[in-house]
């Protein structure tokens, strides 16, 4: 079992390397992290937090967009691509279970995400600590951001596999992935904000709104990191709601979502008829 999963992971790594996905993911994370750490170091003095913690708050807002995007870009082709190329029927005649195929792909894609995240956050941390050695006290927050980013990425990899299994072709899967990214990461928050403004402190704001934030893996990720770092002051918008929601709730959402999305991916892939 482990051998077959590793075999698939090695093959997927070859493909990702040839298709420049490794390079693209790493470059995206490094460039944006460095830009943010440069821009985010200005307002430190006023907040009384160390520099790195402030950079982590900025990186949290960046990762909410970037990590799901990179994960979906890597995963939307996983099943639909095999179907469209005609490679799936042959693969499924091999003595390998479908979930083992998905697990192999997940392993490879997660490994790439981990490399990209560490490269990006690492670069930001090095730049920050070099300019202000006292920023070392923010390393705990950075570590928290790193492992939660990996979990967020795994969640969206699973969602990407599920969409890839549901779609009728690669282009359809790409469309679904981008649509879902826009919906969950961008429009969801805008919709919630609009509802909160309209509700003006009513039942929606106190009851529905916190649950809605926890239900979205991207929002749960942001909430957890901002609450844990008590950096809500540095954040704006939806992040400001972090105070109202206990830490264990956002942590649970972060931990449960990868299992949920990967379970969903395995279920939908099982129903694909080659």
């Amino acid at each position: 079992m482990i051998k077959r999963i590793l075999a698939t992971a090695v093959t997927e790594l070859h493909i990702a390397r040839r298709n420049r996905w490794v390079l693209i993911a790493v470059l995206l994370m490094v460039v944006f992290s460095l830009v943010l750490s440069a821009a985010g170091s200005a307002p430190t003095g006023a907040l009384g937090a160390d520099r790195l913690s402030v950079v982590v708050a900025s990186l949290t807002s960046l990762s909410v967009y970037l990590v799901p995007l990179v994960a979906l870009l890597m995963s939307f082709d996983a099943v639909a691509g095999e179907v469209e190329r005609g490679t799936l029927p042959l693969l499924l005649t091999y003595p390998v279970a479908r979930w083992e195929v998905l697990a192999g792909k997940l392993l490879a894609h997660t490994a790439i995400l981990v490399v990209a995240i560490i490269a990006g956050y690492g670069a930001a941390a090095v730049v920050t600590i070099v300019s202000d050695p006292a920023a070392v006290s923010g390393l705990g927050a950075l570590w928290r951001l790193t492992w939660t980013s990996v979990l967020l990425g795994a969640t969206f990899l699973g969602i990407g596999y599920a969409l890839s299994s549901l779609a009728r072709g690669v282009s359809g899967a790409a469309g679904l992935a981008i649509g879902l990214w826009l919906g969950l990461v961008v429009l969801y928050d805008l919709g919630l904000l609009a509802a909160v403004v309209l509700d003006n402190g009513g039942a929606f704001t106190t009851h529905v709104f916190p649950a809605a934030l926890l239900a979205n893996p991207a929002d749960a990720f942001r909430l957890f990191n901002l609450t844990a770092a008590q950096a809500t002051a540095a954040a704006s918008g939806v992040g400001g709601a972090a105070n109202a929601i206990p830490l264990w709730q956002s942590l649970s959402s972060i931990l449960v979502w990868p299992l949920l999305s990967l379970g969903l991916a395995a279920l939908t892939f099982r129903r694909v008829e080659p």
Binding site: R4, T8, R18, T87, P89, L90, Y94, P95, P274
Partner: protein, 298 residues
């Protein structure tokens, strides 16, 4: 000897279309069986059912003692899809190594395997740069991994040049000699005529014929054609003696039923002094094939 593949009363429908109805067949170890049929006759569907990729609606199938698609069956069955495709970013050796690992075979042998199908020279190139025939050979190489007991080959020689086809059938002969059962579909009738032990003809999802070529030839009882070339000036005499003959391209053409063959030959040899040449033309595989595929259904 127990058979490698046994199918009884298999049916499969896609909505209102009956892709396979009441198909029964068996393939024994070491046997090379050709599956013939028009496009849409159900060949690929039958293969996918055998491989466990499609679930049948009814009937029983045993593949190497297991149900199709079960781990036990998959470990012993190799498949070569029609128009084999692979990820274009992988090299030949990477792709074959992957398949070897999935079968728990040491990937160190990947180069040897590619060499056996004549692809060693391109093993480290991306499959995206391969020609159709080269991709087909990668497909063939993966079907050879780990000594399978049953090979299911969907039009394996399409896209191969004549020399590669000959090499391919030599490979199959060796596999069959080692005890592997082979089920292959093909459009190249003359090719399977010489290279397989038994023919199966599918038509409209039904198995309409099964047997060796001589058996099928007898069963079809198609007329034998004879072409007689007369010595100069004797044509009218021969026509008088053989009133069924007709004049075709400077010769005389006549047909007779299988059981009249010797009698007809005797009549011709009685005219020996007037005949320059005689050709006996048995019904071709094409004739037999179209006889069976038209007889029932279609």
């Amino acid at each position: 000897m127990t058979s490698t593949l046994t199918i009884s009363h298999l049916t499969k429908a896609f909505g209102p279309v009956r892709a396979l109805s009441d198909v029964s067949l068996r393939v024994d170890p070491g046997e090379r069986v050709a599956l013939l049929g028009h496009n849409g006759a159900g060949k690929s569907t039958l293969m996918k059912v055998i491989l466990g990729l499609i679930a049948p609606d009814g009937g029983e199938i045993a593949v190497c003692g297991s149900a199709p698609g079960q781990a036990g069956a998959r470990a012993q069955v190799a498949y070569l899809p029609e128009n084999a495709t692979f990820h274009s970013a992988l090299t030949g050796v990477e792709q074959i190594s992957y398949y070897m690992r999935l079968r728990h075979v040491d990937p160190a042998g990947a180069m040897d395997l590619l060499d056996r199908v004549g692809l060693a020279f391109a093993a480290r190139r991306r499959i995206g740069t391969y020609s159709k025939g080269m991709r087909q050979r990668v497909g063939l190489a993966q079907a050879l991994i780990g000594h399978p007991n049953l090979l299911v080959l969907d039009e394996p020689t399409s896209g191969l040049d004549p020399v590669s086809r000959r090499d391919f059938y030599e490979l199959l002969d060796k596999l069959a000699a080692d005890g592997a059962a082979i089920l292959l579909s093909s459009h190249a009738l003359t090719e399977v005529e010489a290279r397989t032990d038994r023919l199966l003809i599918l038509s409209g999802g039904r198995l309409v014929a099964s047997g060796t070529l001589p058996e099928l030839r007898r069963e079809a009882a198609l007329p034998v054609a004879m072409h007689v070339t007369a010595l100069n000036g004797y044509e009218p005499d021969i026509l008088a003696a053989l009133p069924d003959a007709i004049r075709v391209n400077g010769g005389l053409h006549l047909t007779c039923a299988q059981d009249e063959k010797l009698a007809t030959l005797a009549r011709i040899s009685a005219l020996r002094s007037k005949v320059a040449d005689l050709d006996v033309i048995p019904p071709s595989l094409e004739d037999i094939y179209s006889y069976f595929s038209r007889r029932d259904g279609q």
